[in-house]
């Protein structure tokens, strides 16, 4: 068979996608058509990549994990942002292209994460001493949970950047710098396993986000930026205090200083201290999520932020709160988390799902409405996490990604109309479906995803969360009530989203200003297309996604249960202690802690030689 023919046989899905992509758009030039075709082919490549060829996968040896991959993923944008500083301010085209190139390369690099079977444990682990005196290391790794958040981030940020370049024409250099730095910081926070490193990234991402809101925002941008900053900061300083307390306690017991999450995870704190530390972490995370009553920064920030900023904020930044809860609260404070779960789940349902939906219903500003719908969606995510069943946590994880996709797409769509009319007031619109049919169709489609119509991604996540909460042991019979109440949130979601759709798109074209609005342009279509595609891929084949997260979720829940057992075993008033570590040195590179009971009182500082041992490359078990 000739190579050309072979190519056609093997690459027919991509070719088909390309051809369809070229054929679909109406009234476009050849160049735009080809661009759309390429995007379509790439999307198919991504989707095909999600299904490993099972027969081939069985035979193939376990793929090697390049330990530097995460470094590349995290630092490519960060170095990119530094490089942007050296590019000429006068040529925005160059700046934009460079930014898109870096983000695109980052996305391609992150696709490698899909090539590895995400068995439980840590992958692509990389450990490097950073500040050995303080036990601070550069320790990054991913598991099935963070992989998806990394991918979500690398997937949505280019879209957000692409959209931003369409609508923001001022101060391009600053924009590129902020976007890249924000991207790197978010990725860093998702992959770092050292609490200090995590904290650094956690705070680092605030700065570019404030710049994004504060420079390119709306009328009250400064107020919104302040509010965002102050809320987030208030939570995170408490978290820092808790981190320092844990590190200090760990040093008292184990004899050496470390900020490593995997080491601190084994620390069993006395009950009061555990509760306080849990509270501090929880506060930081639920502000970020955000959960009632700390959610009001979100609508303000969303309304004022530019479209690209809103997309990143909704799609990725909020996920840091939920991710933090899975990773740190469930990992390190299983006991307090377990005992508080039922109450917190009530808060998530009452204050998030129902309250958010009700408030969203009454909003006049489209973006504010979508922002409150975020509160409602994130309530579902938190409910799944509090339920701590496999379905619940998997559903929550899926819902995080779903929310990133559908709410990101909604913000993008709102941005489209804002660019045309410079208003977001619902009453300014009406009957838009007449003038912008494609826009209306896509808006309705994304709305369906947002309100969880089966077949789209929104349904699967909500369904799994509800099912997971209903059967949850930690929530008990309250969980069943909460699941039922959360289900009524599904009704309310339909109420507010469909009211919005009706007011915006249906009815007579009442406002003459809307009579000549152009439909979606190529840039907007290109940015939306991957999101729309993923809405269906995740809605119909969520398993390609959940398969990779399953082991990790199972081990998260296992750790949660074990942690709770250790916590319940603490006598009131007992001192902190260390749990025997499971993976031993393999995971952290640290020595075993001294056996409890033997030679208490004489705690030699940790032999520094142990720190010098080469960390395991790759770290997959």
């Amino acid at each position: 068979m000739s190579p050309g023919l072979k190519l056609v046989f093997e690459a027919w899905p991509y070719l088909l996608a390309f051809v369809v992509g070229v054929l679909i758009p109406r009234r476009q030039g050849l160049f735009e058509r080809i661009a759309i075709g390429v995007v379509a082919a790439l999307a198919v490549l991504l989707v095909m990549g999600l299904w490993p060829d099972k027969a081939a996968a069985a035979d193939a040896p376990t793929p090697k994990e390049w330990p530097n991959l995460l470094n590349v993923i995290v630092f490519l944008p960060i170095f990119g942002s530094i490089s942007v500083l050296f590019l000429p301010r006068q040529s925005p085209k160059l700046l934009r292209r460079f930014t898109m190139l870096v983000l695109g390369l980052d996305f391609l690099a992150s696709l490698w994460l899909l090539g590895v079977p995400m068995t439980s444990g840590w992958h692509f682990q990389y450990i490097r001493e950073w500040l050995p005196t303080f036990g601070i290391r550069y320790h990054v790794a991913v598991d099935g949970v963070s992989t998806w958040l990394v991918l979500l981030s690398t997937f949505t940020t280019p879209i957000a950047a692409y959209v931003s370049f369409g609508s923001l024409k001022t101060r391009t250099k600053d924009l590129c710098f902020s976007l890249l730095l924000l991207h790197g910081a978010m990725l860093g926070a998702f992959v770092s396993l050292d609490l200090f490193l995590f904290y650094v990234f956690w705070e680092l991402m605030l700065v570019p986000m404030i710049i994004l809101i504060g420079i390119w925002g709306g009328v009250e941008k400064i107020k919104a930026a302040y509010k965002f900053f102050l809320y987030t900061m208030a939570g995170s300083v408490l978290m820092l205090a808790a981190i320092l307390y844990m590190v200090w306690t760990h040093k008292e017991i184990a004899g050496f200083v470390t900020f490593d999450y995997l080491a601190l995870k084994n620390l069993v704190l006395p009950k009061t201290a555990a509760l306080l530390c849990f509270g501090a972490f929880l506060l930081a995370f639920i502000i970020k999520v955000p959960m009632f009553p700390l959610h009001t920064w979100l609508p303000d920030a969303h309304v004022q932020a530019p479209t690209g900023g809103s997309i990143i904020l909704a799609a990725v930044l909020l996920k840091l709160g939920t991710y933090g809860y899975i990773r740190f609260c469930m990992g390190m404070f299983a006991g307090p988390a377990w005992s508080a779960a039922a109450n917190l789940a009530g808060l998530a349902v009452g204050g998030g799902v129902l309250y958010g939906a009700l408030v969203a219903w009454k909003q006049d500003d489209v973006k504010r409405l979508v922002a409150y719908s975020s509160v409602a969606h994130m309530g579902f995510v938190m409910l799944g996490l509090f339920a701590a069943t496999r379905a619940g946590v998997e559903g929550a994880l899926l819902q995080m990604v779903n929310h990133g996709i559908s709410t990101g797409a909604l913000f993008l769509l709102v941005g489209v109309i804002y660019d045309r009319r410079h208003t977001r007031e619902v009453r300014e619109f009406g009957g838009l479906a007449k003038v912008m049919p494609v826009y209306a169709a896509l808006f309705v489609l994304v709305t369906m995803s947002s309100i969880g119509v089966p077949g789209t991604n929104g349904f699967v996540g909500e369904f799994m969360v509800i099912m997971g909460a209903f059967v949850s042991l930690p929530l008990g019979s309250h969980g069943q009530l909460q699941a039922v109440l959360a289900t009524t949130g599904v009704i309310l979601a339909a109420v507010y989203m469909l009211s919005l759709v009706q007011k915006m798109f249906f009815g007579p074209l009442s406002n003459p200003k809307n009579a000549n609005l152009p439909d979606l342009n190529v840039r907007e279509t290109l940015a939306l297309a991957p999101l729309i595609a993923l809405i269906f891929v995740l809605g119909l084949f969520p398993n390609v996604f959940l398969d990779r997260a399953r082991d990790s979720v199972a081990s998260v829940i296992e750790g949660y249960q074990e942690g709770r057992k250790a916590y319940m075993g603490m006598e009131p008033g007992a001192a902190a202690k260390l749990r025997p570590r499971k993976g031993g040195n393999l995971e952290t590179g640290y020595p075993e802690p001294p056996k409890p009971g033997g030679e208490t009182g004489k705690k030699e500082p940790a032999p520094t030689a142990a720190l010098d041992q080469a960390p395991p490359a790759g770290g997959a078990r």
Partner: protein, 923 residues
């Protein structure tokens, strides 16, 4: 035949994929490319897709029928089910996360779904054909067919899905298509609002369906049909509905003050899981099938194009609820109370909707209420356990109601050509005498009319008569002996079920007959109004609005016909489908004609309803499983019970003939004038919509308004503003210090440096104690400082150990058990200043470092039983055996034999005593 069987084995029945994917393909092609493909291509694509699907359905049905007869010949009772497995969708958690349930996108094909898919694709094809003409002039022609094909696809997913979640995909999918099609002409705010109303009302039903799925996962552990049928016996358990959790929150403090109130509040209430599941499922069915209280969306849904009303809101989608009840029959029969509720709600809805249909003038509205009413009949049928009868009514109703709608559409089409006003061309008062102009349409309409009013021999007669007959003779038996669910552990009665009330059959039958009278009356009114009399549409032209009240008003301003086309017969694309459907509504009755003993459908469906009709997976005393109980004299009652039905026909249709043909509507007008209030009330649909608007929607709305205000004033106001105010106030205060003068800052710095200097000049005596109780050696370590020298007084007698200050920074002290000692530390710094500190050491008597089992306190619980409580834990330890009467005097708590007391370690300090000294206390 053999080739087909070989090609499509029962476990890999890929023909289902063909049935499903053809409409989907049509939807995608028409939706994405439709505008460019042109009208012809869209028509071809849509018809090909749905026609191919119909052909595949026919083939499948044939295969199924032959497979079933083969199985029957072998004596197998099992329902034949063809499977086509798609892929694993998600995995959800079983009860308490003990197991994972994979949910697969699987499709199955059995008798029930076979018949249903034939109806959907067959009627769907006819309606598609009809629409090619009806929607001819519409600019969004391709969009219409894309939606319609998508609807067919969703409906097929609904009926072919092998599990509840897959069914749910179709369930919401048809809701979505219904939403899109009702709002198809979205220029009109009213249409869009109707679509939204339909979707949201359906969502309320979907809420029930999700809850039902959650309950099934929790109690049964499966969501696919065979799994639910196999595990349904687990539903016969009790569920505590109240209180949620251990007790009602806040009753803890009531316990002491008002124990009776607390007990009344906390008394647990139980329901059987089967009832819960049944109710939740029925909520879903009520939403989709427009039953009370969720029927309000269906009449509004007539805002959509007429073919949509025929296909979705009459023939197929709205019967999905009945389909689901039939599908889950095995679960429903476990709860007679729920079944009776369904029957009662069905009968009630039938009457309510029929009463509204009496006075409506919009012909589509009349048909819509008629649909609601007929759906009520179906639920009456399935509610009394006559599943095949109810399902048969689905079938016949699909034919005659689709025919009625399409014929009405044909009339509207003709009227619209003259009037060009959507509302006026649907108004019955503008019609009349149409049989002259539209003979074929009239023929089809009349065939459907005789069917729906139940003229003997027509399909409506057989199906309605069967339902009425079963309403009297059939009921649902208790699923367990005596209706008592036993607790397997204690052997006691856990829950007593509610049974079928004795007055039930009579009431249901009476309601059914009354409904039949009403049906005959209002349907005849409709037919007479449209086709008899004189055409009243001459004076109506484009832009005509109905005069406000006074109908006499018109008489004074009588003027002759205005120019315009005459109503004329519709083209063949419209008449052929309605004639076919009319013929079917006459003839389809013989699929299940029990009075004449021809019942192939009943026979065909029998294996499907096996679990509803006494399968023995749940044992009842007497050897029969849960299911339907027939009246002992059922067979003999068949003919007697038919008589009231025939009388109802005669009374209803005859009455309508008298009122509307012979008296030309005079008595009706007179009655309306006599009772204007009642007439207005019924004309306004009993103002149920307004009631909902005021109560439920109003409540949610004000709740939302409250939430907005709360968000602004409390959350953003108190949480954020108050914090901000405190910070700002302290900032304002501190700002007074910030003069901006460099010197002032420098002066403050000098003060600070001075303070630090003073700190260094003054000595500080501080010490830490490291206790070691086991050996009794205590180590006191003094804090270091600038040029510090130390002097110790180790025996506390006031005289230092040495006169000179030295560099000894720590002092070991040995203590006997129980000994207390005071040590004085003196510190001298570089400036020769001296400070003193007294350290008191105490070594406790007993070694408390070895931990024993925790102490358990005994206390009397609220129920009078003794229980143990571990201090610091809330959960009491249940005592296994009841406590013997207290042997000692009052106040002496007995030690129950069931409780092992914690051994008291010798010398362990009693925790009740206030302890004086902890080891290492520094005073």
């Amino acid at each position: 035949m053999h080739a087909l069987q070989k090609l499509f084995p029962p476990t890999e029945f890929a023909l289902l994929a063909v049935i499903l994917l053809l409409p989907l393909l049509g939807a995608i092609v028409n939706g994405v490319f439709g505008k460019r493909l042109g009208k012809e291509a869209v028509t071809t694509m849509a018809l090909f897709a749905i026609g191919g699907s119909f052909v595949a359905s026919l083939a499948s049905f044939w295969l199924l029928a032959s497979a079933q007869s083969a199985a029957h010949a072998k004596g197998s009772e099992e329902a034949v089910r063809f499977l086509w497995k798609g892929w694993e969708w998600v995995r959800i958690s079983g009860r308490h996360d003990m197991a994972q349930l994979p949910l697969a996108i699987d499709f199955s094909y059995d008798a029930l779904s076979g018949v249903m898919s034939l109806v959907v694709t067959g009627v769907g094809f006819l309606i598609h054909l009809y629409s090619t003409k009806y929607m001819d002039k519409d600019p969004s022609y391709h969009r219409f067919f894309a939606y319609l094909n998508l609807f067919i696809f969703s409906m097929l997913v609904l009926i072919l899905g092998n599990s509840l979640p897959v069914l749910f995909v179709g369930w919401e999918g048809v809701g979505l298509c219904s939403y899109l099609l009702i709002g198809f002409w979205f220029d009109d705010e009213k249409n869009a609002a109707a679509g939204k109303k339909a979707f949201i009302t359906n969502r309320i039903g979907d809420f029930g369906l999700i809850v039902a799925m959650a309950l099934l996962v929790y109690y049964v552990g499966s969501l696919d049909w065979s799994g639910i049928e196999g595990g349904r016996s687990n539903l016969l358990t009790r569920v505590q509905m109240w209180p949620v959790g251990n007790q009602v929150p806040g009753t803890g403090f009531l316990q002491a003050s008002m124990p009776s109130v607390a007990e009344a509040l906390n008394r647990p209430r139980f329901v059987s899981a089967a009832s819960l599941v049944g109710l939740a499922l029925f909520l879903g069915c009520a939403g989709k099938s427009a039953q009370f209280p969720l029927y309000v969306w269906l009449p509004d849904a007539m805002a959509g194009p007429t073919p949509v009303s025929a296909l979705i809101h009459a023939a197929t989608m709205v019967t999905a609820g009945v389909y689901l009840v039939c599908r889950m029959a095995g679960v429903f029969v476990l709860s007679p109370a729920v079944m009776f509720t369904i029957a009662l709600v069905g009968a009630g809805t039938a009457l309510l909707a029929a009463s509204i249909a009496f006075v409506q003038n919009d012909i589509k509205k009349v048909l819509a209420y008629s649909t609601v009413s007929q759906l009520g009949y179906m639920f009456l049928g399935v509610g009394v356990g006559a599943f095949s009868a109810g399902f048969f009514h689905v079938l016949t109703h699909a034919f005659f109601k689709a025919c009625l709608f399409l014929a009405a559409g044909s009339v509207i089409y003709a009227m619209h050509k003259r009037i060009h006003d959507t509302d006026a061309s649907q108004d019955m008062r503008n019609m009349g005498g149409m049989k002259k102009y539209m003979p074929k349409t009239f023929a089809a309409f009349a065939m459907a009319w005789v069917a729906i009013i139940g003229v003997p021999g027509t399909s409506g007669f057989f199906s309605k008569d069967e339902i009425l007959f079963k309403a009297y003779t059939s009921s649902v038996a208790m699923p367990v002996a005596g209706g008592k669910i036993m607790d397997p552990r204690s052997g006691k009665v856990a829950l007593e079920l509610w049974g079928w009330p004795s007055w039930g059959p009579t009431v249901l039958y009476a309601m059914g007959v009354l409904g039949a009278v009403m049906t005959a009356f209002y349907m005849s009114r409709l037919v007479f109004g449209i086709f008899w009399g004189d055409f009243k549409g001459w004076k109506i032209v484009k832009g005509w609005k109905e005069p406000e009240h006074d109908e006499h008003h018109d008489d004074h301003h009588e003027h002759g016909p205005i120019e315009g086309p005459k109503p004329k017969e519709s083209p063949w694309q419209i008449t052929v489908p309605i004639l076919i459907l009319g013929a079917l509504s006459i003839g389809a009755g013989f699929l299940n004609a029990h009075p004449v003993h021809i019942a192939p459908l009943d026979h065909f469906l029998e294996p499907v309803f096996k679990f509803a009709n006494g399968a023995k997976d749940v044992a009842v005393a007497g050897g029969k499983g849960p299911g339907v109980a027939l009246h002992p004299n059922a067979h003999g009652l068949m003919w007697p019970l038919m008589l009231p039905g025939l009388l109802a026909l005669v009374a209803g249709a005859g009455g309508a003939f008298w009122v509307y043909v012979q008296q030309a509507g005079g008595p009706a007008k007179a009655l309306a004038e006599k009772l204007p209030g009642l007439h207005a009330l019924v004309y306004d649909k009993w103002r149920i919509d307004e009631l909902y608007e005021e109560t439920i929607i109003g409540a949610v709305d004000s709740l939302a308004e409250f939430a907005v205000v709360f968000d602004r004033i409390v959350v953003d106001g108190i949480v954020a503003r108050v914090t901000a105010f405190i910070v700002a106030a302290s900032g304002t205060g501190l700002r007074l210090i910030q003069t901006g003068h460099t010197q002032a800052y420098a002066a403050v710095m000098v003060v600070g440096v001075g303070g630090l200097g003073w700190f260094f000049v003054a000595p500080h005596a501080a010490a830490t104690v490291k206790p070691d109780e086991a050996s009794g050696s205590y180590q006191i370590t003094a804090a270091p400082g600038l040029g510090y020298q130390y002097r110790w007084d180790s025996d506390g007698d006031g005289k230092p150990d040495s006169a000179e200050f030295g560099s000894q920074a720590s002092l070991p002290v040995n203590l006997e058990r129980g000994e207390q000692k005071t040590v004085v530390l003196e510190v001298k710094n570089a400036f020769e200043r001296v400070s003193k500190k007294r350290v008191t050491l105490f070594r406790p008597k007993a070694d408390a470092s070895a931990g024993g089992p925790g102490v358990v306190q005994i206390e009397q619980g609220p129920d009078g039983q003794l229980r143990g409580v571990v201090p610091g834990q809330n959960k009491p330890i249940e005592l296994r055996r009841p406590a013997p009467p207290p042997p000692g005097g009052p106040g002496a708590l007995p030690v129950p034999p069931g409780l092992r007391m914690a051994p008291q370690p010798p010398g362990r300090p009693n925790p009740a005593e206030p302890h004086q000294h902890q080891p290492g206390d520094v005073h």
